[in-house]
Amino acid sequence: MNEIIELLSYSFFQNAIGAAILASISCGIIGTYIVARRIVFISGGITHASFGGIGIAWFLGFNPVFGAAVFGVLSALSIEWVSKKTDVRQDSVIGILWALGMALGIIFIYMTPGYAPNLMSYLFGSILTVSSLDLYLLVALCLITILVFAFMMRPIVYVAFDESYAQTHKAPVQFLNYLMIALVALAIVLNIRVVGIILVISFLTIPQTIANMFTQDFGKMILGAIGFGILGSLLGLFMAYKLNVPSGATIIFSFVILFIIAKLVQLSLLKFKR
């Protein structure tokens, strides 16, 4: 217990806790949209494509987060555009962008003269070293996401649920789709610092899946996902510190433990009902 209190007094650990909570909020909201609309594969594509942006930004000498943001949003918008306007198969396009982004990232990072950045921290995240800029960006992301959902949750859910019906009601379907896919890309890119490219998709799906076991309501699913997200990421954070391993991996590990516990609780609840 004393150890935990001592740990909480370090500013790096306070930052990490802040990042975990902010990541849980933004991923909780956006991830619920991703899971409900079944665009997990698209999100995976955007995640890996954004690595190209990290490489190019590194090569040109500016902050990789901004490179990833530009690259991620552009690839998200082009996936949405390609799937709506052309008859190319959407999953094939995602597969190509997925691989291209990773390839470009590697090429540019190796071409950059001097010290190569710590690739591992992008692949697996390093929540214990988040900067205050990372935190500010996460705060901004959370505010935008909360505002968008506070004012437009119904139209967003209705369009996601039945797009052509929404179209017959002259709803701004295209605008909402582009807005949401851009938000998905931003959420992915800014959370890469916390859990890394390889694991960010689980931050966007596991807490939501756990919440979905207990509620079928979009709004309640968001709140549940945020709750399970905070619980799992804080557990993972302490585990990472204790075992001295990348925090991304331990956070995902504790998510899966939560998932299994939740599944058992759900099964026993079902039995109890009968």
Binding site: A36, F151, F161, D162, Q167, H169, Q216, D217
Partner: protein, 245 residues
């Protein structure tokens, strides 16, 4: 009677494939039109043109005397993702989408209206259930509520009799008969027998459209199916006479 909708020599299709050729159709107030035709004949394409989901390649779709071109629409149930986390009451409320601005709030009178409608359709007790927990008939009721909550002047139903039992089918057409007093109805169906005993007029779509001012199906119409088929006639008591092959 007031004219509500008119299609003038409409050609429509997808990419390089022309599905509808020179379709002319007029829908007036209190019409009850049944649309039949073989699979791939263009029934769904015709609905999409009317709903504005696809633009015709040629020809015109005109709405007269309709506020906001508002049409009530019940899509085919198999196009719906039944695992989507949305409760029944929200599905019904989404039928008011066009009355709301992007940031518009749903007021208590909207919710009250949804409640009254669900009560009438006998699904009020299901309002907090997820759509995935419902049976086919219950689901059709939910989507019918969504289609009519905005008081549309035209109601379009795409195969409302799939995935439901014959009991619900009878009930459905009973409800539609009542609704027909204050809205025109267009219903697409595979089931020629049921449809012909309820609608006032019938149109056959197979590339082009033949329109018939009565609900009696004749040999001519059945030819659009390009195959021998049950001939359905209506006497005092509806009955079927099977044609000799």
């Amino acid at each position: 009677m007031t004219k509500l909708l008119e299609l003038k020599s409409v050609y429509a299709g997808y990419d390089n494939k022309l599905v509808l050729k020179d379709v002319n159709l007029t829908v007036k107030e209190n019409d009850f039109l049944g649309i039949i035709g073989p699979n791939g004949g263009g029934k769904t394409t015709l609905l999409k043109v009317i709903l504005g989901l696809i633009k015709p390649i040629e020809g015109q779709v005109n709405f007269d005397n309709i506020d906001d071109n508002l049409i009530g629409y019940l899509p085919q149930i198999n196009t719906i993702d039944k695992k989507f986390p949305i409760p029944v009451r929200e599905v019904v409320l989404s039928g008011l989408m066009s009355h709301k601005k992007l940031f518009g709030r749903y007021k208590s009178e909207d919710k009250e209206k949804a409640k009254v409608l669900m009560e009438q359709m006998g699904i009020l007790h299901l309002r907090n259930k997820n759509i995935g927990e419902l049976s086919g008939g219950q689901l059709q009721r939910v989507f019918l509520c969504r289609a009519i909550i905005s008081d549309p002047q035209i109601l379009i139903l795409d195969e409302p009799d799939t995935y439901v039992d014959s009991h619900f089918e009878t009930e459905l057409y009973g409800v539609l008969d009542q609704l027909n007093d204050h809205m025109a109805i267009i219903v697409v169906s595979h089931d020629i027998g049921t449809i012909s005993s309820h609608v006032k007029t019938i149109a056959c779509v197979n590339g082009s459209l033949c329109y018939h001012d009565s609900n009696v199906i004749n040999q001519e119409q059945l030819k659009t199916y390009n195959c021998p088929i049950d001939l359905i006639t209506h006497g005092e008591v509806p009955h079927r006479v099977l044609k000799k092959h």
